[in-house]
């Protein structure tokens, strides 16, 4: 019997697990897929929003501002790529200028520090590539960029290091209330816990309905992106938004912590798990982005991707005790990534309010470091390679990721089981050749480290097999 079982290990589930692992509790996380951070957490804009978007007085507003502070601290302690680069919302018309005024006012009421309205010229001085048509901008110095999957991974690893149990490939199929606890039905048998937390992302409505009367629907909305080569990474230095509309925060142009340029998203209704891109969606993204930054060179695209928002059609997240011992962290649309650390904190508070005893552990391990060969200076590289020659062998040439780094991630609290799992942990395959060169080598390393044939290795989720069978020549029936 667990004290708490969390359903879903996206950034929200991971932050909640980490928060609860500070206390003397037995905590488990059930995740349907074979790895953490494989839902919306891996496919979004990767912005830590300053907090001027949410309506004042909402839970979302409070958690956004608090989350952005906590995220800065967590990223530093847990070695997650993070850069406070600030953001601008551009105005192209008088109406947009009015919107900026509204956002400024909201931001001030939400407690966002340092907001300021810039003239078009001031904005262009900071971002020389902005269009001449920009009339003004809202400048938010506390906005930041982050590696979303590494944030999730770092939170989940910390939870595991501090005793939480991560159950991968475990899909929750039903919840049954017993006397004073929940019986949790999964594809791998029944689990029991006194409290259940619903952090199931776009499936949070389905999971809610397992425990409480139906009272909301997730209406998934997909956003499509371009990721451009590092050659374009310096096109802008800050996050460049357009004015938000009913549909979302609009198309942004932003640097990423990995040095690329990200452009997107659009917003179109979609099925829950459909991460496809469309020609129409991508055309829209390109055309719209050019209004902000006309010079973006889409010829440098290295990847398109899409993520699905868990929209519930409300102005706020759905965070509440929805049934005895059952906490919803549902409808966590944007700024869910930013808010996640604060959602974790708040979740612990709500569970406490529902009777969960929170007693701090004497020791909480809150530290994480990994070697990033590419970022080391010459002297450290020399030392590292002489200590462990595997750090001298470059596997991913575009991102300069060494064999040593890849081997090291098999010895972390949550080792990878897929090519994309290695990519999320080391950046191998993230570069301009998109794994064309290193994927076969990563398959080989996975096969060796996991001790399974290469044919069993998957690209990402279970079922995404890469290879079929050995060639005739190898099988010997030529």
């Amino acid at each position: 019997m667990y004290d708490v079982l969390i359903i879903g290990c996206g950034v929200v589930g991971a932050a909640t697990a980490m928060e609860l692992s500070r206390y003397k509790l037995s905590v488990a996380v059930a995740e349907r897929e074979n790895d953490v951070a494989v839902g919306t957490t891996k496919a979004n804009s990767a912005i830590l929003h300053a907090g001027y978007d949410p309506k004042p007085g909402t839970v979302m507003a409070r958690l956004n501002v608090r989350g952005s502070q906590l995220a800065a601290e967590y990223c530093q302690k847990l070695d997650v790529p993070y850069r406070r680069c600030g953001s601008m919302v551009l105005a192209f018309s008088e109406r947009d200028m009015e919107t900026l005024g509204v956002l400024l006012d909201r931001g001030n009421r939400n407690g966002v520090p340092g907001l300021r309205i810039l003239t078009g010229d001031e904005a262009r001085q900071m971002e020389p590539e902005l269009a001449d048509t920009v009339l003004g901008a809202l400048w938010a110095p506390t906005a930041a960029i982050v590696s979303p999957w590494e944030l999730c991974l770092a939170l989940a690893e910390t939870a595991v290091k501090n005793g939480a149990e991560l159950k991968l490939c475990t899909a929750v199929t039903g919840l049954e209330r017993a006397e004073d606890h929940w019986r949790i039905h999964t594809n791998r048998g029944i689990l029991e816990a006194r409290y259940v937390v619903n952090a199931a992302g776009v499936d949070s409505d389905t999971v809610h309905d397992m425990a409480a009367p139906h009272d909301f629907d997730i209406r998934p909305s997909r956003g499509e992106y371009y990721l451009l080569d590092k050659a374009e990474g310096g096109r802008v230095n800050t996050v460049v938004f357009q004015c938000p509309s009913e549909k979302g925060k609009g198309v942004l142009v932003s640097p990423t912590v990995h040095g690329n340029l990200i452009v997107g998203p659009n917003a179109e209704a979609s099925p829950k798990h459909d991460e496809s891109t469309t020609a129409g969606g991508l055309d829209f993204v390109r055309e719209t982005a050019k209004l902000s930054v006309p010079g973006v060179n889409f010829g440098q695209s290295i990847r398109n991707f899409a993520g699905v928002r868990a929209n519930a059609g409300l102005d706020d997240f759905i965070i509440r005790i929805a049934a005895p011992g059952f906490l919803d962290l549902a409808g966590i649309c944007s700024p869910g990534l930013t808010s996640a650390p604060a959602i974790g904190e708040y979740a612990a508070e709500l569970l406490q309010g529902d009777g969960l005893r929170l007693e701090k552990k004497e020791h909480f391990e809150f530290h994480r470091r990994r070697i990033r060969f590419k970022e080391l200076d010459e002297e450290s590289r020399r030392e590292l390679v002489s200590r462990d020659p595997a750090y001298g062998r470059v596997i991913c040439r575009c991102e300069t990721v060494t064999e040593g780094e890849i081997l090291a991630c098999f010895h972390t609290p949550i080792p990878p089981v897929s090519v994309d799992g290695v990519k999320r942990r080391t950046n191998a395959g993230m570069g301009r050749c998109q794994g064309g060169f290193c994927a076969p080598r990563v398959v080989e390393l996975l096969s060796r480290e996991l001790n399974v044939p290469a044919g069993e290795i998957v690209k990402d989720r279970a079922g995404m097999k890469i290879l079929f069978e050995e060639t005739k020549e190898v099988r010997g029936d030529v």
Binding site: H273, S276, R303, P440, T471
Partner: protein, 417 residues
Amino acid sequence: MYELIVIGGGPAGLAAACEAWDAGLRRILIVERDKTLGGILNQCIHNGFGLTYFKEELTGPEYAHRFTQLLAKTGVEVRTDTMVLRITPDRRVHMTGPSCGYRIEEASSVILAMGCRERTRGAIGVPGARPAGVFTAGAAQRYVNVEGWMPGKRVVILGSGDIGLIMARRMTLEGAKVLACVEVMPYSGGLTRNIVQCLEDYKIPLYLSHTVTDVLGRDRVEKVIVSRVDENRRPIPGTEMEFACDTLLLSVGLIPENELTAAAGIRMDPRTKGAAVYENMETSLPGVFACGNVAHVHDLVDYVTRESQRAGAAAARFVLNGPAAGEEIPVENGPGVSYTVPQRVRPENVDKSLGIFFRVNRIFGRSRICVEAEGREVCGFDRERMAPGEMESVTVPKKLLAGVKGGLTVSVREVEK
């Protein structure tokens, strides 16, 4: 301190190093990131290499072997499993490998021979789902020929570049069903002989002026949608065809691998995506040369060899006799030409003749290639047919370059039958 460091041990690097040795250099180092020399040739187990250079048909590994044998007779030092991470304008070469560690070596001259990489799905923006089963043709070639694994059973190939064509045949021979090869242009990007031997011989349909407009499947590719495109390469609604398949191979072009080059501040040519070079393959950085696929994408290794020998000899001359001298003139692209190599020429420094490689920008029937200076033809060459997929070369005798001012222009025009 080396006289010459060659970066990359593919056919370009091998030929350049051997030639530099023959020309008198003695302290030469080849740095190769793979565990073996030979470059991309190691995975090209098909025939068709060496027809021009050796006048016989070799497989890729056999062709590479010819040169590693030659190399073994020299005193050239080789460091495999070692990758170059940076070169500086003063020719210091930063490298890392499990046995040599992280090291910086100095050199009097450097030859860039890093080859190229394949364009990816992201680069051409194929929309749709992102399941497993989308590979670049070269990656698939590596799985089949080097790792011994089949990456698919029912295959559609996007792009008619040579690697895709070769893989159409290879996958078929391995028991896969290749349903179609789809090319967005109205002509193929590959060699005619590959169209015949790899598609037609196996009755694999080639859809010209078509492209892939959607990929379906959640875990693995299940279907691709192919549509006809208009003159502007935009898909025409209503022309969709559906192919049930598990694999999509992309053979949509190669890009010279020039991150090191650009980071060293060497002048690049946006058309070749390689360094802009002189007649002797020297880049804008004196003493640094580029040859093979890193300079411009070749279809035939034989030309890579010739070009790289030129670079090797020039590096030796640079080290032994000092920098090349003389006025320089540009080589411009006239009508019908999409790029030339070299991009600049120092006529005084030309040996006996000037070799110019170029590609045409569309299909040409019977036509004449003109090399002009100040509106006057310096020399001309006749061809029966030319296609963008096949690199062309012409040779201009040195004596015709005497007195040429202002630059050369290469152009192509069709002539009446």
